[in-house]
């Protein structure tokens, strides 16, 4: 009975990984490097085509960072994530067009609508088993798209076009592609940062506890249902804002942009990059959105390749290429004094 506690039987790899590449990727600098690269990119190529591609990629990064909250942190498989983007884009488009408002002013309404959508989808389904949840979210995604396709307020199959720009202040015209690109990069980096910070907070830990073991999390006083719903709502907000940027970028919204394929692509970005690891997710999103543009031959068969890659990655690296690291720095010295709070036991 007592042999199985021999410490030498424990796996030997106790320290953090030490390869130079992983150290580089895990340094604090990498975020700034990525931001600088994004800001400098228009100086390398600023054709309307490349600006279009880069803006789309930036929006895609935002979506992936939002889905990462739901799938990566909380472990809830959402196969209809694009529906939140649809809700955001349609809300922004309809309001700004009918009231002749810049898109910026529609954001409060977009927040309300996406949070509502998150609640409507999440509240009845988050008690379900994870695989049921996946298919129900898929169903919701399709319902959203078909509804947009059938209603007249959403413009039916042709959608809404001629949406006003984000903002117009004096001479600064945000409809200029370069200005819009910079604005998008700014917004996206702030939200990526926010989502990374959420992941390293009390709420972010609660999401991981729920992902790892719901019963144990409950026993520690974590209201798993509420915590899951919060993951959904945050994911919905990220998606909704992605929708606003999308509407600003294309100045048109139509149901074809919100097919299942789009949800699946965002999911692939999260999974291939590394579930729960925001840096990996950003890289995954950039690879998925930019690679087909860079490799033309690859573009025609990209979905087949992505599909096969998904299986291969799951079989060989179920946490994704670059998963969230399970290591953290430890204290340098051993505390001698117990913390004040801990000693006043029993209150």
């Amino acid at each position: 009975m007592s042999e199985n506690v021999d410490a030498t039987l424990a796996p030997q790899r106790l320290g953090p990984p030490r390869s130079p590449i992983s150290r580089l990727l895990e340094s604090r600098l990498i975020g700034w490097v990525a931001l600088a690269a994004a800001l400098l990119a228009p100086f390398v190529t600023a054709s309307p085509y490349s600006l279009n591609v880069m803006t789309t990629a930036a929006i895609f990064v935002l979506l992936a960072s939002g889905l990462n909250i739901v799938v990566g942190y909380c472990g809830l498989l959402d196969l209809g994530y694009i529906a939140f983007m649809a809700v955001g884009a349609y809300t922004a488009g309809i309001i700004s067009k009918s009231f002749e408002l810049p898109l910026l002013f529609t954001i409060p309404a977009v927040l309300v609508m996406t949070i509502l959508a998150g609640l409507i989808i999440g509240a009845p389904t988050l008690r379900l088993r994870s695989d049921y949840l996946a298919i129900v979210t898929l169903g919701f995604g399709e319902i959203t798209r078909i509804t947009a396709n059938n209603l007249s307020v959403t413009g039916g199959p042709s959608g809404i076009f001629g949406i006003p720009g984000l903002l117009k202040i004096g001479g600064l015209d945000v409809e200029n592609p370069a200005v819009l690109y910079y604005l998008t990069v700014l917004v996206v980096s702030l939200f990526v940062l926010a989502s990374a910070r959420l992941g390293k907070s009390r709420l972010g830990r609660a999401w991981r506890f729920v992902r790892e073991d719901e019963d144990a999390a409950e026993a520690m006083g974590i209201h798993t249902y509420k915590v899951k719903l919060l993951a959904y709502i945050f994911g919905a907000i990220w998606g909704g804002l992605g929708g606003v940027l999308f509407a600003a970028h294309l100045s048109a919204v139509s149901p074809q942009s919100f097919i299942f394929l789009q949800s699946a692509l965002v999911l692939m970005a999260v999974v291939l990059g590394g579930m729960g690891n925001m840096r990996g997710v950003v890289i995954g999103a950039l690879v998925i959105s930019l690679l087909p543009e860079l490799l033309r031959d690859f573009a025609s068969n990209r979905y087949l390749v992505f599909g096969l890659l998904l299986v291969v990655v799951m079989v060989f690296r179920p946490q994704g290429f670059w998963p969230a690291r399970g290591y953290e720095r430890e204290r340098a010295t051993v505390d001698v004094d117990p913390p004040a709070v801990a000693t006043e036991q029993g209150r």
Binding site: M1, L203, R205, M220, E328
Partner: protein, 263 residues
């Protein structure tokens, strides 16, 4: 003495099987109670009822005088109960420190806006989380790396982490489900000392345990269960002498009189 835990006429049935059939007991402040009994006697089922993982068929559970019967586990934990599980239920991919931080979830000191903005309050709260997690790991005598995934640790170390996680909740009532299972002799001795220190913090302990040596030395009262019912209760000496207990453990016809050892 006030009762931290009061269980009255607790019943749980799965289909036709009554796992717990009319169990009543109470635990007082700074008391260590052991629940013993043969496998399948309903001990863990009773624990799961107290902590809200099973919904009792009938009966009531009161914790610190508050009715908690039928509430969900998280709400019951918030009232002031914490527990460990029979088979380790840690968060395997998360670090040792994060596992212990789970126990502190109810002591927030930060919200999501603090986290996004990295406010001073957030930094204070995170520092508190880390300090306290380290404190409780020290308290249980955890030696070893704390920034690594808990799945890399040995079984004995993982058991300590689970107790540290439960202690970090700082509840008045601690339920331990077979804390000594799989531990060697010296580790059991350390557990004995640890339980005493936990009690000195002002915490009542109810534990399920099969190691009779440990139970006799540790507990002030012992509740013996069989077939979902309490068949005896008393001090270790009383229980040892109780004929019903001997019967439950050794069978009616005391033929071979095989030692129950630490069965």
């Amino acid at each position: 003495m006030t009762a931290v835990l009061e269980v009255k006429d607790l019943q749980v049935a799965f289909g036709g099987v009554k796992a717990v059939d009319g169990l009543s007991f109470s635990a007082h402040e700074r008391e260590i109670i052991a629940v013993i009994g043969p496998n399948g006697a309903g001990k863990t089922s009773a624990f799961n009822c107290i902590t809200g993982f099973y919904r009792p068929t009938s009966g009531s559970v009161r914790i610190k005088g508050l009715e908690t019967t039928g509430k969900r586990p998280a709400d019951i934990a918030a009232v002031g109960v914490t527990r460990t599980f029979q088979n380790l239920r840690l968060f395997p991919d998360l670090t040792v420190l994060d596992n212990v931080r789970a126990g502190m979830h109810l002591y927030g000191g930060q919200n999501w806006a603090d986290a996004i903005l990295h406010t001073p309050r957030f930094k204070r709260s995170e520092a508190m989380y880390t300090d306290e997690a380290n404190y409780w790991l020290d308290f249980v005598g955890f030696e070893g790396a704390r920034g690594v995934p808990v799945r890399n640790l040995s079984y004995g170390q993982q058991k300590r982490v689970e107790i540290a996680r439960a202690l970090a909740r700082k509840a008045e009532l601690l339920l331990l489900d077979e804390p000594a299972a799989g531990l060697n002799y010296s580790e059991k001795q350390q557990l004995l000392v640890l339980c005493g220190r936990i009690r000195d913090l002002g915490t009542s302990i109810v534990l399920i345990e099969h190691d009779m040596g440990l139970v006799m030395e540790l507990s002030e009262r012992i509740i013996v269960m069989n077939f979902g019912r309490e068949i005896a209760v008393g001090t270790p000496a009383e229980v040892k002498a109780n004929p019903a207990v001997i019967e439950a453990y050794l069978g009616k016809d005391d033929e071979g009189a095989q030692s129950n050892g630490d069965a």
